[in-house]
């Protein structure tokens, strides 16, 4: 493999893999979506309407 091809491949892979892992870890550490209390509130709100 030529040096230029190797550098292009490796730098792209590192960049893409780093951001994939970084954002995924941030998602894992962030709060979850579900909030049952909010669910109950919204349902009540809908019924009131």
């Amino acid at each position: 493999m030529t040096t230029s091809a190797f550098i292009m491949m490796l730098s792209t892979w590192i960049l893409v893999t780093f951001f994939t892992v970084y954002f995924f870890i941030r998602v894992l550490r962030a709060p979850h979506l579900h909030n049952p209390e909010e669910d109950a509130f919204e349902d009540q709100f809908d019924e009131d309407k």
Binding site: M1, T2, M8, T12, V16, F23, V27
Partner: protein, 550 residues
């Protein structure tokens, strides 16, 4: 009937969004585009397009979806309607139903091939077959051997029905128990299959498993940068096009999935995570399988000639046979299994907006909405199956899978930045965000992304012959006209380069007739959806809202 469905978990949502984006194009289209457009240098316009067009479009579509979802709309017409006071806005959402429905029709058929090929790989059908036999097997499989007028193949239809049934069953289980659960199984399996094939490709060298070249030569071929190609507009348009298609933007499926979020759920970080997951599958895995394995057995020139969809089905099974019976079966299972999971996670995302449209706007319960979608899907898939070798399949891909996607994305980017307003739009993207998006993107979303999309749109409309833009401009300015490529939108529409345009020869319909009938069917489908939108909005409950808009 207001849907109260929600995603069960954040991981499930991200995997479903990534699954929506990861499709067969990641594994078959990306490597082909890279080798034909500057090798390693292709990644520069590719990443520039990702930042200035891909990411802004992702944020826009997630924001439009979550915003529309607050009003009980989980499909494009209702969401687009909520972006402004203009009553015509809802009709721009017709594209968001049309493309999903018609792409699902031919894409599900393509997906069913992968299932059929998994079966044949496992039972050893390809053992002892020559390259020529495997190629013929494909034509026999789709009923196109000898190019009959009607491509009838019992086996292809059998696997198609199984694939449609599986899609409908998952959709009928709902967002959390169906789509989310399927993606939680499909995406990890997809990664496992992809990693297995990448390891096999990287350890392949001349002499091992009958390889004639080192697989690494294929990686060199793919990544060797030809920087002079960066001055060619064709390369930039190809890169922007690839980013566009790989992220599944301009479809209405991202909007639909995002509509099942709450008002204050994050979209900024989730979309980044799903977007980069797609890039990982495309750039790291997609670039490391088909090209190196192909080059190891066929050499550079042959791979350059056949790389793409046909190579995936007509060549790869032959190459796996060199690995011995067990590894060949495993290789076939991994390759076609990988394509199958990439396909089904996308086809579910194509189906859900249509189901949601019927459910929300026509007040049918989910199971009935899925049935209606299934009937429409089978009706629209029939021409692509029965007239596959006469261009029906390609027509669907050209109009639904290429042209209207870009058009819808262009319209929605203008609607979001200019009608809904960039200030409101920016607030919508930032609300509940778990990551801060640089404010520089506010400018990008309003000005740069629509311009990018306009360039891609115009590029597809008037693409010059062989993609030679410099030559075309020279011809234009020297008074010799514009050499339209037969595959450009205008070239297709006006049949550039076609000499015989007869509908019948000796009483038998020609491919021209089938292509025109396919276009007519697509046009009628679009008109039908527009009428459905008009009827839905004519409902008394919506009329009250419409009066409020006046």
């Amino acid at each position: 009937m207001k849907s109260k469905e929600r995603w069960g978990s954040r991981i499930g949502l991200v995997l479903a969004m990534a699954g929506n984006a990861v499709g067969l194009g990641n594994l078959l289209r990306f490597p082909a585009q890279a080798v034909q457009n500057g090798g390693g240098a292709f990644i520069i316009p590719y990443l520039v397009s990702f930042v200035f067009m891909g990411l802004p479009l992702l944020w826009m579509e997630w924001a439009i979806g979550r915003y529309g979802g607050q009003f009980g709309h989980h499909s494009a017409p209702g969401m687009m309607d909520k972006l402004g006071k203009h009553r015509w806005l809802k009709y721009t959402g017709v594209f968001g139903i049309f493309t999903n429905l018609t792409i699902a029709a031919y894409y599900t058929y393509l997906e069913s091939w992968t299932l059929g090929y998994v079966y044949h790989s496992l039972v050893g059908t390809f053992q002892g077959m020559s390259a020529h036999d495997v190629k013929n097997f494909f034509f026999a499989y789709v009923g196109a051997e000898g190019n009959p007028l009607v491509n009838f193949s019992g086996e292809a239809i059998f696997f198609f029905i199984i694939t449609v049934g599986l899609n409908l069953w998952i959709l009928s289980r709902g967002v959390s128990k169906g789509i989310e659960a399927a993606n939680k199984i499909g995406m990890p399996l997809l990664l496992i299959f992809g990693l297995f094939l990448t390891v096999m490709a990287f350890t392949l060298h001349a002499g091992k498993f009958n390889a004639i070249n080192d697989a690494i030569q294929g990686m060199n071929f793919l990544w060797e940068p030809k920087f002079e190609s960066l001055t060619d507009p064709k390369v930039w348009l190809a890169a922007a096009g690839q980013i566009f298609f790989t992220l599944s933007v301009g479809l209405g499926s991202i909007h639909c999935y995002a509509a099942y979020l709450r008002k204050n759920d994050d979209i900024a970080l989730n979309s980044l995570s799903a977007g980069f997951m797609n890039e990982f599958v495309e750039v790291v895995l997609g670039g490391s399988i088909i090209i190196p394995i192909g080059v190891a057995y066929l050499g550079l020139d042959e791979v350059k000639r056949i790389v793409g969809l046909s190579m995936g089905f007509q060549t790869m099974p032959t190459l796996f046979q060199n690995w011995g019976p067990v590894l060949a079966a495993l290789g076939g299972l991994a390759w076609f299994g990988l394509l199958f999971f990439a396909g089904i996670t996308s086809s579910l995302a194509l189906g859900q907006p249509v189901v949601a449209f019927i459910h929300d706007e026509f007040h049918l319960d989910r199971k009935h909405a899925v049935r209606v979608f299934g009937i429409l899907l089978i009706i629209l898939a029939a021409p692509t199956i029965l007239f596959f070798s006469h261009g029906a399949f390609d027509e669907y891909d050209q109009w639904s899978g290429t042209f209207f996607l870009v058009l819808f994305a262009l319209i929605e980017s203008i609607a979001f930045g200019w009608i809904f307003g960039i200030d409101r739009g920016w607030k919508e993207i930032q609300r509940g965000a778990d990551i801060r998006i640089p404010s520089f993107f506010k400018f990008v979303i309003k000005y740069i992304t629509p311009l990018f999309l306009l360039a891609v749109f115009c590029g597809s409309l008037i693409a010059p012959r062989d993609g030679n833009w410099q030559g075309a401009f020279s011809m234009l300015f020297s008074g010799h006209g514009w050499p339209l490529d037969p595959n450009s939108v205008i070239g297709k529409l006006f049949r550039v380069g076609v000499t015989d345009t007869r509908y019948f020869v000796d009483g038998v319909p020609t491919s021209i007739f089938i292509v025109d009938m396919t276009r007519l069917l697509l046009l009628l489908t679009m008109i039908g959806i527009a009428i459905a939108v008009a009827v839905a909005w004519n409902h008394p409950s919506k009329k009250i809202h419409q009066r409020g808009k006046q």
